[in-house]
């Protein structure tokens, strides 16, 4: 198991009354699997991802990456932010070099990896540009290869296709699948979009809208590269929409 989440519990004090965000959540992501956390907003999926990343401390429970327990952020877990969080004062190339510099990758090796990553993400010749000069798609690809540059064991993504228009979102998903098929990193991604979850994932984990529990763990058995059509695709869609509705109703119940 590449990523192992065991018995994670998290409460927030909400105007005095404790509010349980995650209650005894356990899951595993196998080597090279692409797993999605799906759920209505407020279900704790982003909190769980932040705990796995080490940005937030859990009240109870353990996170193991490649059999090693972790509690702080580290380069073994690459993170792709919804805002991308590219450093605006660094060029595209310097952004991608940054994790390699922090890990002390020697210069020759660093430049070689940089070239490989940029060409993999179709960003050749763009290295000198600053983030604000990049299109949305280019920013997203930069964020992906920056996260990959440090050779993480696990890639964590927080709604990486979150706030773009529909057409752009489809393109980014296809781009992401293409990049992922090239190196098959273990992925845990958060989304609230059913089609996105089916299109991207080997497994979809559905979280309930209230109480921070896992409702379902659904393997998606479709050939890659994926297509957004066909009977099986639509069966998965119906199944997940039903589950999400149930998750939402769960959340509404006091």
């Amino acid at each position: 198991m590449k990523l192992e989440v065991r018995g994670i519990h998290k409460q927030y004090a909400n105007a005095g009354a404790p509010h349980t965000v995650l209650s005894d959540v356990s899951l595993t992501v196998g080597e090279g699997q692409y797993v999605t956390l799906l759920g209505p907003s407020g279900c704790g999926k982003t909190t769980l991802l932040n705990i796995v990343a080490g940005f937030i401390a859990a009240d109870r429970g353990t996170i193991r990456v490649a059999e090693r327990e972790v509690s702080k952020p580290g380069p073994d877990r690459g993170f792709i932010f919804q805002s991308y969080a590219l450093f605006p004062w660094m060029s595209l190339a310097d952004n991608v070099r940054y994790p390699m510099k922090r890990q002390g990758v020697p210069k020759d090796e660093r430049e070689k990896r940089l070239d490989d990553l940029l060409s993999m993400a179709r960003l050749d010749g763009k290295g000198h540009l600053y983030p604000h000069q990049l299109s949305g798609g280019m920013k997203q690809r930069t964020a992906v290869v920056r996260a990959l540059a440090g050779r993480p064991q696990v890639l964590l993504m927080d709604e990486p296709f979150g706030a773009v228009d529909f057409q752009m979102r489809l393109m980014m998903q296809e781009e992401m699948e293409r990049l992922w098929l090239k190196n098959r990193t273990t992925v845990l991604m958060v989304t609230h979009d059913v089609q996105e979850a089916i299109y991207m994932s080997d497994r979809v984990i559905v979280m309930s809208g209230h109480g921070g529990r896992i409702m379902a763990d659904l393997p998606i058995d479709l050939p890659r590269p994926r297509e957004r059509r066909g009977e099986i695709y639509h069966q998965y869609e119906d199944q997940l929409i039903d589950l999400l509705q149930q998750a939402f109703v769960d959340g509404e119940r006091p």
Binding site: A53, G54, F55, K72, P73, G74, P75, R77, G78, F79, F81, Q82, S83, Y84, A85, F87, P88, W89, M90, S91, Y98, P99, R102, Q103, L129, Y130, P131, H132, Q133, G136, K139, Q140, R146, G150, G162, A163, V164
Partner: protein, 275 residues
């Protein structure tokens, strides 16, 4: 994508308006409308001089320009200007040396901010010129009180801008740096420092502007050398033309200092201006 950066073009435009490198409504081409506004000022001035018909009260613009031409070649005036500029640079450096670290501390630590903020806000309410008599008591006449005034008036602008800079750094940048393997020191040098450069330069511009504005006033009272002193002398000798020339000179120096800092901003934070 929560795009905090906005569109590149809009950002560059905002920067230009803030930096005064864009003439409003003038588009990307360099506009010559400012010539018209100068012409209007000179026309009003000329008309006033004609109506008063007194070289003492209102010398005509050409007289003032002639006096300016004499002043910029007068070694004594230039020497005194040099004294004033030296004071401004020393006072400004003190303001930066105190203000930037304090701003980082207050921007980064809520607790430090809670302790220091009331103190700063109290001191800040005292009009800067109200410090002049006390600063003379403390430092005597000469460089002491003027440098004190410049440092004091500048330090608040530097502190407040630095705080604003630190607080506007998105939390994601810290998390991103940590997840890529940066430690505390590297977060300071790789994230906080570069992210705050533009705000610190804004603070520096405000500090230099305020310093330049107050030093001349302080020199009226607290010294027997410097540009303010030369101005008072021109006034007591009833050389109104020279006085106006000196005012123009003060404006030109202030303008040049500000341009210099804008240039510095463009080279230190060139990522903000790349198109």
């Amino acid at each position: 994508m929560a795009d905090s950066e906005g569109s590149a073009a809009a950002r560059v435009r905002d920067r230009e308006i803030l930096d005064g490198t864009r003439v409003l409504g003038g588009g990307r081409k360099r506009s010559w409308w400012w010539l018209l506004s100068i012409a209007i000022v000179f026309a009003i001035w000329q008309f006033a001089a004609y109506s008063y018909d007194s070289v003492l009260l209102m010398p005509p613009p050409l007289d003032a320009l002639a006096a300016l031409w004499r002043a910029v070649r007068d070694p004594e005036i230039l020497l005194n200007m040099g004294i004033t500029i030296k004071r401004v640079l020393i006072g400004f450096s003190i303001a930066m040396l105190i203000g930037v670290p304090l701003g980082y501390l207050m921007g980064y630590s809520q607790r430090a901010s809670a302790v220091i903020d009331p103190l700063i806000n109290t001191l800040r309410q005292i009009p800067i010129m109200a410090w002049v008599p006390l600063s003379i008591v403390w430092f005597g006449l000469g460089d002491g009180p003027t440098i004190f005034i410049i440092a004091f008036v500048g330090v608040f602008a530097v502190i407040l801008s630095t705080i604003a800079g630190v607080r506007s750094i998105p939390k994601d940048y810290y998390d991103a740096a940590r997840s890529m393997g940066a430690g505390r020191l590297q977060i300071l040098t790789n994230v906080i420092l570069p992210a705050t450069v533009p705000d610190i330069i804004t603070g520096a511009r405000l500090a230099l502007g305020a310093g330049w504005g107050s030093v001349i006033c302080a020199e009226f009272i607290a010294t027997s050398a410097g540009f303010g002193y030369v101005m008072v002398r021109a006034q007591t000798q009833l050389e109104t033309g020279t006085l106006m020339a000196l005012m123009l000179m003060a404006a030109l120096v202030g303008f040049t200092i500000d341009r210099g800092l804008i240039k510095l901003n463009h080279s230190l934070a060139k990522w903000r201006f790349a198109e």
